[in-house]
């Protein structure tokens, strides 16, 4: 016995009304890249309203910032967005160094840039595999993780962890890099371009991918600015906004690298931006390895770190966009307030407006092109 629930609005062209139902693309879903729940009000296959519901992996990072000393919060920073953990530690360490005016030796800055760019390539590899898995292609996942394992071996060699490195310290690094890291990185930089060329021939120029992504999920530059979306999302809409170029930090001004932007504003543009970004990261690593100065890797840091009162912030170009740490200190050795402005939070906030009227497969392809990490949203 079919019970008709709410009264059905007449169909768009006035003939027999088709019923809208609420589909629950819930916390446990392969395309959700974690525990993101999207409440989709659907009319047939077309989405009338897709409202993301988050908070299923909220882990109280900001609350933990207030009851730990500055140094104890470091392990937390690599667990916010575990795919680009180096960037997040870099931002927190940079903010504290800026507040306490700690001098960082140049060698440490160069190693920070090298490890951050390696981490960016590793993060883009996971995105690439996951996005194509969303579109149905399961083999690229295996290729992507092959290359990523090379990076993880390199980073594991110097800081012992595969994913949640806690490698930076206030004023420098926890230990210096050794020779086989340098040789390994040079070998990796030579190994990667032919692989990227293979991915371009096999996947990027594949007609199915082109048809699935071109013109899907248009996000205009104005919408990016209004919602604060940054990173490959805003660069896919034609705006060359990259924190490494616009608000230079660390030693990035020493390198010449290009910011890839594509004006088409669709999912294909965001895809191409990330693929070109990997090549730019390789160029940065190569230049950083050539100009790597000798010298200490740890500056002078007071035994118990007490920051002068006030609020300080430090922004970094993470793999997903602009990550900013705003710390408020009241002079004690524990922070008064730690605010983590994460890129995926703003990138996802435009999803409701951007996915109106799309059909479900396209909406998921667009969500893949936003490159979300859900603990990065929930913090």
């Amino acid at each position: 016995m079919i019970v008709r629930k709410e009264s059905i609005p007449p169909g768009p062209s006035g003939e027999a009304p088709s019923e809208t139902f609420v589909l629950n693309l819930g916390p446990q879903h392969p395309a959700a890249h974690g525990v993101l729940r999207v409440l989709m009000t659907m009319d047939g296959e077309w989405i009338t309203k897709a409202e993301p519901v988050i908070g299923y992996i909220h882990r109280m990072h900001e609350k933990m910032g207030e009851n730990r000393t500055w140094a104890q919060f470091l392990p937390n920073t690599s667990r916010i967005d575990y795919l680009s953990a180096m960037h997040y530690t870099h931002a927190f360490v940079g903010a504290v160094e800026r507040a306490a005016k700690i001098e960082v030796p140049p060698r440490a800055e160069y190693v920070r840039v090298i490890t951050s760019e390696l981490n960016r390539i590793a993060s883009h590899m996971v995105w690439w595999g996951a996005m194509l898995a969303d579109l149905g292609g399961l083999t690229p996942f295996l290729y992507a993780f092959d290359d990523r394992e090379l990076i993880l071996d390199l980073l594991e060699g110097i800081c012992g962890a595969r994913l949640t490195y806690c490698y930076y310290r206030f004023g420098g690094l926890c230990n210096d890099i050794d020779d086989d890291f340098v040789q390994g990185t040079r070998a990796f930089v030579k190994h990667m371009p032919p692989r990227l060329k293979m991915y371009r021939d096999l996947v990027t120029d594949n007609i199915i991918l082109r048809k699935r992504l071109t013109g899907i999920g248009p996000i205009s530059a104005e919408m990016c600015r209004k919602y604060g979306a940054t990173g490959p999302v805003i660069r896919g809409s034609g705006v060359a906004y990259d924190v490494r170029k616009i608000e230079p930090y660390s030693v990035y001004p020493q390198f010449d690298f290009k910011i890839p932007t594509y004006p088409e504003c669709d999912s294909m543009a965001r895809y191409l931006v990330r693929m070109d970004e990997m090549e730019q990261s390789l160029r940065i690593i190569e230049q950083a390895l050539d100009q790597l100065p000798a010298g200490p890797v740890m500056g002078k840091v007071p035994r118990v770190l007490k920051l002068p009162p006030g609020d300080y912030c430090y922004a970094v170009e993470a793999a997903r966009g602009r990550f900013m740490v705003r710390i408020v200190s009241d002079g004690k050795d524990t922070p008064y307030r730690v605010k983590l402005r994460t890129p995926s939070f703003s990138n996802l906030s435009l999803y409701e407006e951007a996915s109106k009227g799309m059909i479900l497969p396209d909406a998921l392809a667009m969500m893949g092109s936003l490159d979300l990490v859900i603990p990065d949203i929930d913090r």
Partner: protein, 128 residues
């Protein structure tokens, strides 16, 4: 009924039994091999699965008509294949060319369904 006919009938009957076994066999095997006890307190194994959440609303609702038209095209070709099975038995007895031409004509006429659906815009998949 001469024995050739009974031979054929036995084949068909065996084929039918095979189909039945194939259909109901798993139920029997599962009943025999599945573990008896269950640790589930609330019996949710029969519930619809909706990504870890309580399912919202009912699945029996009206969809747009485009799926129905798509299914019709499939049914047309299913019937088409149905008629090709007996042809496969007697294919090439007299002259293979004649049979081939007949097949092409038969399939050609039936593929007009695709042309008709194309013109009616079933494959544009726009909302109706």
């Amino acid at each position: 009924m001469n024995d050739a006919l009974t031979g054929d009938l036995i084949y068909i009957f065996a084929f039918f039994l095979g189909g039945l076994a194939f259909a109901f066999g798993p139920f029997v095997v599962v009943y025999l091999l599945a573990p008896r006890g269950t640790r589930n307190t609330i019996n949710k194994t029969g519930q619809y699965i909706e990504c870890g959440m309580e399912p919202i609303g009912d699945a029996w609702i009206r969809y747009s008509a485009v799926y129905y038209l798509y299914a019709l095209v499939f049914v047309a070709f299913a019937v088409d294949v149905l008629y090709l099975i007996p042809v496969a038995l007697v294919y090439g007895r007299e002259s293979a060319v004649r049979d081939f031409v007949e097949l092409v004509i038969f399939v050609g006429i039936l593929s007009l369904v695709i042309v008709y659906a194309w013109k009616k815009g079933v494959f544009q998949w726009n909302r109706r």
